[in-house]
């Protein structure tokens, strides 16, 4: 990553995300078509909901004829972590105009958040609208293009996982997590590793008792709580 917060730097740094988005977008397009949704409806979901796993939940629940409110509530639960992400991000854009904050929030994703948090380590802990907006909009366009390709491929390609693209986003999180741990000097590495180990145990044991829809948010909240406790124990 570079210290510059320019459109050019953003385009370069968002490349790994686009690779993952094309893969998962294609997968979503295929799944949605296979469930009986038209190319247009499939595209509408990616354009208006724009939320990775929640879109798969949405299509699955439509297919099983779930009531509208329970579908919407499930999507809300799956995406509830977004509130945590935008809360974490908001202090860096406090000086920007309200419409710019709304625009950044509208296209915020796990991936652009993770990139932004990593970028902070190279920019003296600052971010700007131009850089973040470029990352967001490029990701959004790629997601829609991926969905479109997948929807049109439809039955031609029955299993995109075969080509390893399904793992692209996970690989990106592994990379970003590692880069974050080695670059973030505000928390000692040992404390970070303990928190990560705790998150691993929580995810494993949590899967047996916490509904999959709220697992991420519950695990994240508990992980952060442990982090704060560790920090104060050492202070």
């Amino acid at each position: 990553m570079h210290p510059e917060l320019t459109i050019r730097a953003a385009m370069k740094e968002v490349l790994p995300t686009t690779l993952g988005y094309i893969g998962i977008g294609i997968a979503f397009g295929i799944v949605s078509r296979a469930s009986g949704l038209s190319v247009l409806l499939t595209a509408l979901i990616s354009i208006f909901v724009y939320a990775g796993s929640a879109q798969f939940v949405l299509v699955t629940m439509l297919l099983s004829h779930s009531p509208i409110l329970s579908i919407i509530f499930s999507v809300f639960l799956v995406n509830a972590r977004m509130m945590l992400l935008s809360t974490t991000l908001s202090p860096y854009f406090k000086q920007e105009k309200t419409w710019r904050n709304i625009l950044l929030g509208t296209f915020l994703t796990d991936e652009s958040f993770a990139l932004g948090m990593n970028k902070l380590n190279y920019t003296n802990r600052t971010l700007n609208f131009t850089w973040f907006n470029t990352v967001n909009l490029t990701s959004y366009l790629t997601w829609i293009i991926g969905t479109g390709i997948g929807a049109m491929l439809g039955s031609l390609l029955s299993n995109p996982e075969k080509f390893g693209f399904g793992f692209a986003i996970t690989a990106m999180f592994i990379g970003l997590l590692y880069l974050q741990v080695i670059a973030d000097k505000t928390i000692p590495i040992k404390q970070q590793l303990i928190v990560i180990l705790f998150v691993l145990l929580l995810t494993y044991f949590g899967m047996a008792i916490i509904p999959a829809k709220v697992l991420i948010i519950v695990v994240t909240l508990l992980g952060c709580t442990l982090g704060v406790i560790l920090k104060h124990a050492h202070a």
Binding site: L15, F48, V49, I68, N79, M82, E161, G223
Partner: protein
């Protein structure tokens, strides 16, 4: 599949709740300041959320019991993590990840 009308309203509703989760904190926090305790708590969000998003992919949930291991994703994670340590370069890490997953797919 339900009726077109039902699907359109569902997409609309799902879109609105997702959008509100994304923008409300931005809008509200322009007026208020976060307390130092909250900021400290939030400083752990990046590593915990990235770790959680990774770890949920290496397990397969089974209702009421401990999850199964997702062998494919677990195996593919090893070269991916190694490439992170060695290259510290995100595009390289993602490409190694995709190739590892493709190779593991062939082996398993």
């Amino acid at each position: 599949m339900p009726t077109l009308n039902f699907i359109l309203w569902t997409i609309f509703g799902a879109g609105v709740v997702t959008w509100l989760s994304r923008i409300l904190p931005f809008v509200l926090l322009k007026k208020f300041n976060l307390s130092p305790a909250v900021i400290e708590f939030l400083s752990f969000v990046p590593i915990t959320i990235m770790a959680a998003l990774w770890f949920q992919e290496i397990f397969i949930p089974r209702s009421g019991q401990l999850p199964e291991i997702n062998t494919l994703n677990l195996l593919a994670s090893i070269p991916t993590l190694l490439s992170a340590v060695i290259s510290k370069n995100l595009p390289v890490i993602v490409i190694v990840g995709v190739l590892s997953a493709a190779v593991c797919q062939l082996i398993i």
